[in-house]
Symmetry: C2
Subunit: 428 residues, 2 copies
């Protein structure tokens, strides 16, 4: 398999990236006119190519893993990098699932007739060219490429240097799918160098070619992108998610949701990082909830009231309320009712995802309306913060911006709209 | 009337603006919970205050006009600055019209139930705090303040230095309306200095307080804002709008739309700047269309084919195709059919507003779908590019971005959304 990797030293970054940008613009025009069937054929053919290329993909991934191991990558990062047969199959299934989603392009979002007889339609259109900058997970190559294709956007992918061979092998399968469907290979391009200067160039010098940049990765990557980008950015910085257990909560439900929200997977952005317990429910709720966490192997850092209920709790500092642990650690605080919970979240939260457990419908509504986060849940786990779980098919991330897209970024969030106005000679 | 103007020399810009920012954040929270009735009462009370304060408003405007005349402001700018009794009444009527619009906040945009029983709602919420930077038109103070209030956003207004006394007097009326409705005065704030450093500070150092900046004014202002802003920007750079008259156009309709699109008002962004005429219709259409323009007092710059039909036509240069004249000047070119028209627009246009005149439905659809502009019209004037004409009540401008808001920016475009998820104990 030819993965088209260039020796960074031999590559002239500005000219290569500008050439990729020009090709993207041309591909975007073709994609805007592509039929749903063509795009879905490309996705299904890419899935078939992934399955067919399993040995090549595993070999490419083994090269990345060997290099990363040699360079001392952390076990957590290595885990993200590793691709097995199951991972390849999951990517293929993901492409097929995206093929099955409703096509967003051309949808009439609204239509109305003016008193003068003009008919105005708001119609969904692609954004154009999307730049995606990500880290070590090679499956992002398939997911992001597919979501952009489904939404008729051309994409320039810039994967992490650790996963460059894996990403290139996956990218080759996507290109095979495009070709089979008669779509331009340049609809999905992969930056063929690990040189970090390419990222800087994408962010600052490609405004003529890239309409929006989406960073997918850790806080440092997203912060860098938001700082340097000269084009719009869709990105989430962090998920410091809260679970508030109200005085009217069912204890068993609260326990089940708490353990799931904190511990199902600790490394994802929807994992709960702080538990808030209603003061009026402390006697009934606090000790069993804290014990459940500790017994499940979770470190608990609490305020003085929490420290008192279990000797295994350590004292939380002010920093703990701000921290996204992404680990089996939780901060626990007693607050005086739902309003105090909303205030705590406003002060320390990251406007990502928060949940309340309560049997009181009025308290639940007060929380749902009062919390200014992308996702607010009642009696459900914060780990549902996920495009797939929302029924959006797949996502490229969870946006904590309020601008353009908020919450899960799926195919609809990768679109814009235009107005079509049909008249019969109207003038002003 | 106390207009609260501070001597710029005595004002510490960073501390003053940060204090305004903090007040905006607090006001935004109150606005998010304000009822539609409260907001509408504030708007109607502000309209009443404008009418009551007519003498003060005219006096404040006279001060601005006298200073601007002395400093040699251009007649066109002076014209924008001048406020008469009719202008004040128009502002008051505008506020009342915005009060009558449907309230956008809290609207459920979509709702669905997941197989696990969770009910997901996408609900409209305000953006938060909006910064608006504008030039000499004092009525923008009222329009922009009212649109932000209606959409439950706090706003920091920074008007042009020429209109500072007029804007301050109008702002005082808006504050009177807020106060009468029991809403915080800091919901609508006006930067109390003409020091240009305040603009730079808003763009670069207020990211903690301002969620989005909207520039309203000429190309230079918008370009500066887009270059310097450290927060998202909704802005339109220019409207180089095209009218394409197809071979199947009705001549009389084409003439009527052309004269309206070019000459109704030449200084607005929806004014047509280039006329494209289909080669296959030249014999029937070109001479009468060009004559109609010239006879109406419009300068015509044409390609060689156009120069040949009337001796009054001057030769267009390559620059003319790129130019937004905002004046009684038009560029005219013969193109070979609808596809060539689309190509010309793609190359030279600004993705604002374009129109086709044709009796052929298939050609019209090809144009409507093929042109990638915010607004594309069939058999109607480009001067309909306006939120009011679209039935959106009022607008803060026309966005040529594809990101977040495209086309007229009305109250709905000043909102975001969040997801409310109602469960019964679901975990992943």
């Amino acid at each position: 398999m030819n993965t088209n990797l260039t020796n960074p030293k031999e590559m002239e970054i500005p000219s290569t990236l500008r050439e990729m940008g020009r090709a993207s613009r041309i591909a975007a025009k073709t994609l805007a006119r592509a039929t749903p069937e063509q795009k879905n054929l490309a996705l299904r053919s890419a899935a078939a190519a992934l399955r067919k290329s399993l040995p090549d993909l595993l070999a490419a991934n083994a090269r990345d893993v060997a290099a990363a191991t040699a360079s001392g990558l952390s076990p957590a990062m290595l885990d993200r990098l590793k691709l097995g047969a199951g991972g390849v199959e999951a990517m293929a299934v993901g492409l097929e699932a995206i093929a099955q989603l409703a096509d967003p392009i051309g949808t009439v979002l609204a239509q109305w007739t003016r008193p003068n007889g003009m008919v105005i339609q708001r119609q969904r259109v692609p954004l154009g060219v999307i730049g995606i900058i990500y880290e070590s997970r090679p499956n992002v190559t398939a997911d992001a490429g597919a979501l952009c294709l489904k939404s008729s956007n051309a994409v320039i992918l810039r994967g992490g240097s650790e996963s460059i061979h894996s990403s290139a092998a996956i990218h080759a399968c996507l290109v095979e799918g495009l070709t089979k469907a008669g779509l331009p290979a340049s609809a999905i391009q992969l930056v063929p160098t690990t040189d970090r200067a390419a990222v800087g160039f994408m962010l600052a010098d490609m405004a003529d070619y890239i309409d929006v940049i989406i960073p997918r990765g850790g806080k440092n990557l997203v912060a860098r992108v938001q700082k340097e980008a000269r084009v719009p950015v869709i990105g989430h910085l962090e998920g410091n998610c809260h679970l508030f257990v109200d005085r009217d909560a069912d204890l068993e439900m609260a326990k089940r949701i708490l353990i799931n929200a904190k511990l199902r997977r600790t490394g994802i952005c929807g994992a709960a990082e702080t538990l808030l317990v209603d003061k009026a429910g402390v006697d009934r709720l606090l000790a069993p909830l804290v014990a459940a966490l500790l017994d499940a192997g979770c470190e608990v850092r609490g305020d003085p009231a929490v420290c008192r209920v279990d000797s295994r709790v350590t004292a939380a500092t002010e920093d703990d309320w701000f921290t996204e642990y992404l680990d089996a650690i939780i901060a626990v605080r007693v607050v005086d009712g739902v309003d105090a919970a909303v205030e705590h979240i406003e002060r320390y939260g990251s406007q990502h995802t928060e949940a309340i457990v309560t049997g009181n419908a009025a308290t639940a509504e007060r929380f749902l309306q009062g919390v200014d986060s992308a996702i607010v849940l009642h009696n459900a786990s914060t780990q549902f913060a996920d495009g797939g779980e929302f029924g959006m098919g797949a996502e490229i991330g969870i946006s904590t911006d309020k601008f353009h897209a908020r919450g899960p970024v799926g195919v609809e969030q990768l679109t814009s709209y235009k107005y079509l106005v049909r008249g019969s000679g109207q003038i002003r």
